[in-house]
């Protein structure tokens, strides 16, 4: 147990050292989310108008984009596992007295730290987009981003545990992550799309991570509409007639994380 814990911190520590020493990564990871925000935002904002009084399309999408930044970067964390395998350093890690679950947790925590930092950097856009930020909101946001990102790193590491080259990892991740993101309600209100799309989106666990962050940002607007339960269709996710609260959303994320991380640890320890 102590070995696992120490392993987790050492591996996470190195992940951060690596991140700091590769500054270009800090910027490249913003390209995609920014692109989406600008293109979709500029393209649809005018046409769609406000979804809910006081919330235009960009303001609706923005919390989703923060979630997207965090989850893309978390899943990409697996890349560092593949990288380590390709360049040999994984052997140094595997042969140290730290245990496989320590390694997996360390990779998850390290990349979560990086992903959360990137999510937080996205907050600088808030004033430009007319989204109000309060210190309380930021304080609540951080633990949510941490949970989302630790959970989703599990997915990246799980994929990486079976991949031998960076190219194949990236291909698999693209194939998996794009549908997950597009069907997670980043770009549309899950409650007001055709049923088939809504059903798929509601099965996608990422939807709940996105919803939690959106509720955090736009909670006041929802309240102004008469509460989360009160017929609000633009924001929120309704499952079997029940509109999910932030806590319930996060619970789903955590359950997903536990499943992904333990599968990753298992998959990691099975191979030699």
């Amino acid at each position: 147990m102590a070995d696992t814990f120490r392993g987790m911190w050492v591996v996470a520590y190195r992940e951060l050292l690596r991140f700091i020493s590769e500054r270009s990564r800090i910027f490249s990871s913003f390209a995609m989310p920014l692109l989406f925000l600008v293109i979709f935002g500029a393209g649809f904002n005018r046409i769609i108008g406000s979804l809910t009084p006081g919330v235009n399309f960009i303001q609706f999408m923005y919390p989703g984009i923060i979630a997207m930044t965090v989850l893309t970067n978390s899943v990409m964390s697996g890349l560092s596992v593949v990288w380590d395998r390709e360049f040999g350093f994984l052997k140094e890690i595997l042969v140290a007295p730290i245990g496989r679950s320590g390694i997996v947790l360390g990779k998850a925590v390290g990349s979560a730290a990086v992903a959360v930092m990137q999510g937080i950097i996205m907050l600088v856009l808030a004033p430009i987009l007319g989204v109000s930020l309060t210190p309380l909101l930021v304080v609540k946001l951080i633990p949510m981003l941490i949970l989302i990102s630790v959970s989703l790193s599990g997915l990246g590491i799980l994929i990486a545990s079976r991949m031998r080259s960076q190219q194949s990892f990236q291909i698999i991740v693209q194939i998996i992550i794009f549908p997950l993101i597009f069907l997670s309600g980043v770009f549309f209100p899950v409650n007001s799309v055709p049923t088939w799309l809504a059903v798929i989106s509601k099965i996608n666990p990422l939807t709940y991570g996105v919803d939690a962050i959106r509720q955090l940002f736009l909670g006041r607007e929802i309240a102004a509409m008469g509460g989360a339960m009160g017929g609000n269709f633009a924001i929120g996710v309704t499952v079997f007639g029940h509109t999910m609260t932030i806590i319930e959303d996060m619970l789903i994320v955590v359950i997903l994380g536990v499943i992904l991380l333990s599968t990753a640890a298992w998959s990691f320890s099975r191979q030699e």
Binding site: R14, F89, L94, V95
Partner: protein, 325 residues
């Protein structure tokens, strides 16, 4: 007590038997060498001893701990330098060592001191803050050795520690290894296919196609050949071999167009033989036996060193081009 005990250890990869029921013991403080050609199973054996591979059969203990059931204890007892580089090239020398120190739980009070000591030992103190990416092959190797020693292991595994290094650096690395043994009663388990390096070992295991074919001190292995080695080239090698067999009942081997055999007291044998040898000779030489000869004698093949392999390859490529024309 033997620090390494191996009994019937085997590893199969599918149908391929990489290591086939090997047995050996390594005493504490020994320099124990594994010598064999490419694909002999040296790395596979090390990987099993260091818990990276699970054996398919047999058992092994390192420092008294079972390599399957007590992995953590084994890992704590050993230091490793793998065949391929395993440094994080994007971190500095110092950061690589510090990572290792944390991973092996080296207490804070002695951590920095030990890092400095070891960087001194491998003469990299002035580069401690440079990224490993900027190091030469020899410097990386030295840093890996320093890292392998950081947590004061009982056994240091070195898988081809001097592969691809220039003779001067090789000498250098050997100086460390020999000095270390003296100072710390460290046991060293190494693999190599450089014969001259193998001579530095206390005992050598010759392994070929997963089997141990000899295990002894370098001197005894050479003595077992029965004297000195004579290599000669004749105009007709086959005729010469026949003559050697008939006249002197020797057992010569032809390898790469030269005939090799051993005789006791070669300096006396040679003049006698020259007196009445019928086959016309092109060249002849006499020398003390090397481990090369031991290997040749035991397997009928020369152990292929890096250089020779490349030369052969270059010749094949040239021959292929010739055909194309």
């Amino acid at each position: 007590m033997n620090i390494i005990e191996v009994e019937g250890l085997s590893k199969n990869f599918g149908h391929l038997v990489a290591v086939d029921k090997v047995d050996f013991q390594v005493a504490e403080g020994e320099i124990f060498g594994f010598l064999g050609p490419n694909g002999a199973g040296k790395t596979t054996t090390i990987n099993m001893l260091c818990t990276l591979l699970t054996p398919t059969g047999g058992r092994a203990t390192v420092n008294g701990y079972d390599v399957v059931r007590q992995r953590s204890e084994v890992r704590r007892s050993i230091g490793l330098v793998f065949q391929e580089p395993t440094l994080d090239e994007y971190l500095t020398a110092e950061q690589n060592l510090r990572f290792h120190a944390y991973a092996y739980k080296i207490p804070g009070e002695i951590r920095e001191k030990r890092i400095s000591e070891l960087l001194d030992l491998v003469e990299l103190s002035d580069r401690r803050k440079s990224k490993v990416r900027t190091f030469s092959g020899g410097m990386k190797r030295r840093l890996e050795i320093a890292r392998g020693l950081l947590h004061s292991p009982r056994v240091l595994f070195l898988d081809e520690p001097t592969l691809g290094l220039d003779p001067q650096t090789r000498r250098h690395i050997w100086d460390y290894v020999l000095a270390l043994r003296k100072q710390h009663s460290l046991t060293i388990f190494l693999t190599t296919h450089y014969m001259d390096e193998a001579e530095n070992c206390d005992r050598i295991t010759i392994i070929d196609q997963g089997h141990i074919i000899a295990l002894d001190t370098p001197d005894k292995l050479k003595d077992a050949l029965g004297g000195d080695v004579i290599t000669l080239k004749a105009q007709d090698n086959n005729a010469a071999v026949l003559e050697l067999k008939e006249k002197y009942s020797l057992s010569p081997v032809i390898e790469n167009g030269t005939i090799t055999f051993s005789v006791p007291q070669g300096e006396k044998f040679l003049p006698k033989m020259m007196g009445n040898f019928q086959s016309p000779l092109v060249s002849i030489s006499l020398r003390r036996p090397t481990l090369d000869d031991v290997f040749l004698k035991l397997t009928g093949r020369a152990i292929r060193e890096e250089g020779a392999g490349i030369k052969e390859l270059a010749m094949k490529v040239r021959a292929m081009r010739g055909h194309g024309r």
